[in-house]
Subunit: 255 residues, 2 copies
Amino acid sequence: MAAESSGQPTVRSVERALDVLEALERSDTPLRLVDLCRLVDLHPATVLRSLAVLQRRGLVVTENQTYRLGVAVLRMAHGFLVNDQLTQQARPVMQSLTSVTGLTSSLYVRSGFERVLAVRVDGSPQLHYQVPIGRWFPLYVGSGKVIAAHLPKDERDAVAAMSEGCVNAAGEPLDPERVRRELEDIDRDGHSLTIGERDVAVAAAAVAVTGPTGEVLAALSVSGPSEHTSKDRLRQAVPELRRAASALSGRHARP
Amino acid sequence: MAAESSGQPTVRSVERALDVLEALERSDTPLRLVDLCRLVDLHPATVLRSLAVLQRRGLVVTENQTYRLGVAVLRMAHGFLVNDQLTQQARPVMQSLTSVTGLTSSLYVRSGFERVLAVRVDGSPQLHYQVPIGRWFPLYVGSGKVIAAHLPKDERDAVAAMSEGCVNAAGEPLDPERVRRELEDIDRDGHSLTIGERDVAVAAAAVAVTGPTGEVLAALSVSGPSEHTSKDRLRQAVPELRRAASALSGRHARP
DNA sequence: ACAATGAACTTCACTAGATGAAATGTTGGT
DNA sequence: ACCAACATTTCATCTAGTGAAGTTCATTGT
């Protein structure tokens, strides 16, 4: 038996091994076997066998009875970047964007209702925390909004609805209705300007990178420390940012 | 049946799925199904089932009958960085290292007989190609040599032997015997200084980061464009580099 | 010190489910 | 229009993944 009742073919043991991998990915601390078993709801022997395979590949490492991801996942990340046309072409564009504006440029790729940092080119002095490659954020805060704003109306509203019960970096609760209106404004302006929203210490301007049929693929942003980066400074960078984004738009299809 | 004839337990279908993933990782171009089948030596139906699972997780994406890695691998990379004490602690240390020296700092983690770039903090102007996170290199060129130099004698010689038949960035063939002698020098000096070796445009100084029992875990380097980065400038940075590396040494065990 | 708990890891008989041959659908070349 | 090459689906077979039970090891309480 291979084809599932629900169309998609699958391989149970692979699904299970990936559940284990994802559990480790989501955890911000190494996990013991029992913890993993509880998280993925599997028999210890099954989890242990999966871990043994993953370990031999370097995807998982173990240290006195706790498990976490291994360096091999970094090599995989590189394997992605090498084949991804968008990030590949973005790198030089972003380097000149940063050298012209003096701000940090970031490319957040859309992945479902999330955005994932794929490329970052740092602006001059690194005085603050830097978002590491692979970090993901929702679409309803900060530069993510420029992605949400370009989604079809129903999905856009869905994103706004997700903000229900969430708080921004300053701890203020988000209002879905207000988010929805902001997204409309951003859609009209073609760019977002957010100050201290996702991170109180960061101010950013962002525009969308789109595919051949106009669908959003990513958000390209420039950002700086909020004390030294005024709204005006960001606004000045918008034309350059827009130019960079349009150089990347229209060439890449959604997966 | 679960335990293999060779001690280690395994799960065949998981092994196979990971073979597929690794084939995609190693390829510098998207692959068709037949190509994958040839590479991993499996029946098309088997490969297709594995791909379906990987696709649903975002680890693989397909575009008109070709397959490549998906953004989910970037999220995994982040999952690794979050739990890895060494890279976590290295980030701030490297930021100050870069702000003091003005050079780019890189942390290459040892993984078998390779090194993988885990953290990079860019020095002032980005005028040249930047090594992306996850890129791996051998231990016998450039900053890798500082890792090789601290290995037990037999492994060190093994690395030197691997350089047989390889060329450096300038296209000159490497001589294992000469590499072996260089490693001895580096072991004595406690640092490496390489100019245009791994990349003709880059000059770098590197020192080793070690674990509690003195085993090498990583190479910490400072680098700059070879035209504007003299041997003297690098030498001046060595004490600071050494300080940074010793702040990271002795705390982390090998996996 | 010694039992008792709890967790990591191993073994093995059973049968769920992964497998691959073959059939079907699709695309591109001449 | 035909053929060739590849992608994808189906299904009967029997491999190999599973989990209950057992073993070992470490830690905690009395």
